[in-house]
Amino acid sequence: MDLKEKLLSSYLVFEDHVDMDTHIHNLRNDAIKIFEEKGFPTKKEEDWKYTSLNKILKEDYSVFPKQENAIEYNDVKKYFIHDIDSYKIVFIDGKYSSHLSQTTHDGMDICLMSAAFTKPKYRLVIENYFNKAASKDSLSSLNTAFSSEGAYIHIPKNKLVEKPIQIIHFSTGNEAATMLQPRNLVVVDENSHVQIIERHQSLTSNAVLTNSVTEIFANKRAIVDYYKIQNDNSNASLIDNTFIKQKQESVASVHTFSFGGKLTRNNLNFYQEGERIDSTLKGVTIIGDNQHVDHNTLVHHIEPNCESHQDYKGIFDENSTGVFNGKVVVEKEAQKTNAFQANNNILISDKATINTKPQLEIFADDVKCSHGCTIGQLDESALFYMQSRGIPKKEAKALLMYAFSNNVLNSVKIPEMKQRITKIIANKLGVNLGFDL
């Protein structure tokens, strides 16, 4: 049985067992129909031209999470940013781990989707927001049909959440192959500010496929900073579908750090539904082996006087492949839009490839849009310069790569997070530089 059939038949079993109100139930039914009709995307679709799911779909995934596996905090501590105080929402094989988590209902809700789906006090938020930002593509729809667990974050107005929130999805590999479909909802009301760090981590080398959907709503003047750490092991694949709806004067940023995993596809979509909105999409990708990272971004400028800043850096070694497909749509009403996009790449090996494609669809006339992409090698004369000052070639290369990523790293607002990323990069490059950039 192929994965699609397996999912469709599992859906029937699944839907009988969940206890939901009819609103959600209807959403799911619609969603599974979309998936049934469209199936998994193939390379024939323009948006998937350079990313093939064929290989990873061949695994015999178990599609329902089994019993929770116990994990000791000390064994997985290193996957947390553990030197800061934070809220934690942690899942093990798709099930909530209360043991590793630290949630709250004190003046805000930092908790679970399973609770939000079933408890009456969340009904209004779910009705107003759930599945209101996600697109109706096949993978997001598949996630909607199976959505049962994930992080639920609702910050009411005028609240500065002082601690960052870490969302971590562990998979233990107690099945030969596991498919996970976490579903996160983040609603940040007027004037509130929140920082979120998200990570997917498998703890064995068994195959994992995660098809995740995160919906984020930044209401009027809200500030949302979202960081994704993608440094999973070589049999773990991730399809990350993130949708952000912003209202007037809100500021939202997503930083994606992709250093590991077999195949990673980031579908990152921003919708600007108000004036004077600011959106930032940044990423650093450093991969090797046969790894593949695909950034597919969309910024939809709908109203006037808004800005968007995209800055993606990629370093590709060995046989790795990268894709950057950045789409910016500026509607006719969206005058005085300022949209900036940059994608810079370094190919370390001559077997590595990058496909980069900006797509600008501009229907307004008074706008400033710029985009630029570069593909290059490490600068040999810079390497010699550094070596001549006593910095060995390996370290010199690493320094150049850091420097290359520096613009993106510098806009990380949590210092410990920035330090961690710097460390991950240093580990990856096998160097130990005596400072943080």
Binding site: D379, E380, S381, A382, F384, Y385, M386, Q387, S388, R389, G390, I391, P392, K393, E395, A396, L399, L400, Y402, A403, F404, S405, N406, N407, L433, G434, F435, L437
Partner: protein, 250 residues
């Protein structure tokens, strides 16, 4: 200290150095002059270990050791420093972080611990003051957007930090205004002692008024065609290179 014997070097099969002989002893200052394109920077790069240049004949020894097989960083660790004619811009790495890395990598190579942060800071301040470099300057990206003169001054700042045995200064004077020239030259002179040596590559007598050479060499068409004392520089300033070219071609 440095002994170059019948050195031939080429790049992409184009022969550039065609038999250089040069010996530099501790405590000495040598000046290398010569027309554009004669091979001065190539010689400097070959000594510093640029891989692009292939040594086809002859050899270079430093403190008695043949350095041909050594990587550029290993030569730096032995005490060879090259101030670039065209310093490279490295966006995203500050002057401070760069020099810290350079110093600690050299220490690592010698089996020493990293320099304590306090000592490093003190040393940076001391050398920045010596070259009258504004502290703010040190947090900027290395050479990025620096003026020509600022780049050169920064090269000498790095030299001061690294305290090499042999410093090769490739047209460090070009791009410096009169005050900067004096500051940089004073800096070099302060660092000078009986155990180290300096090779200055220059087109102008002006620099040699400050950094007074023991020997002046003329490089022409890949060879040192004339050597003399500091008065040779004056002669060149006055008469140009034609008479030397004529002598060589005769």
């Amino acid at each position: 200290m440095l002994k170059i014997d019948n050195l031939h070097a080429s790049v992409e099969d184009k022969s550039i150095l065609k038999g250089i002989n040069l010996e530099v002893k501790p405590g000495e200052v040598h000046a290398i002059m010569g027309p554009n394109g004669s091979g001065k920077s190539t010689l400097a790069s070959v000594i510093a270990g640029k891989e692009e240049y292939e040594v086809t004949k002859g050899n270079i020894t430093f403190d008695g050791e043949d350095i041909e097989e050594l990587a550029a960083e290993e030569r730096a660790h032995k005490g060879i420093f090259l101030s670039f004619q065209y310093p490279i811009e490295i966006p995203g790495v500050s002057v401070t972080n760069f020099i810290k890395t350079a110093i600690n990598e050299s220490r690592k190579a010698k089996g020493l611990e990293d320099m304590p942060a306090k000592d490093m800071l003190k040393l940076i301040r001391e050398k920045a003051d010596l070259l009258e470099i504004d502290r703010k300057f040190l947090s900027r990206s290395l050479n990025e957007g620096f003026s020509g003169g600022e780049k050169k001054r920064n090269e000498i700042f790095q030299m001061a930090m690294l305290d090499p045995k042999l410093a090769i200064l490739d047209e460090t004077d070009s791009g410096l205004d009169i005050d900067a020239l004096r500051i940089v030259a004073n800096g070099v002179n302060k660092l000078k002692n009986k155990d180290n040596a300096v090779v200055v590559i220059t087109h102008y007598q002006r620099l040699l008024d400050y950094i007074v050479p023991d020997f002046v060499h003329v490089l022409y068409n890949g060879r040192i065609v004339k050597s003399g004392g500091k008065e040779l520089a004056h002669e060149l300033e006055e008469k140009g290179y034609d008479w030397i070219k004529e002598e060589v071609n005769a």
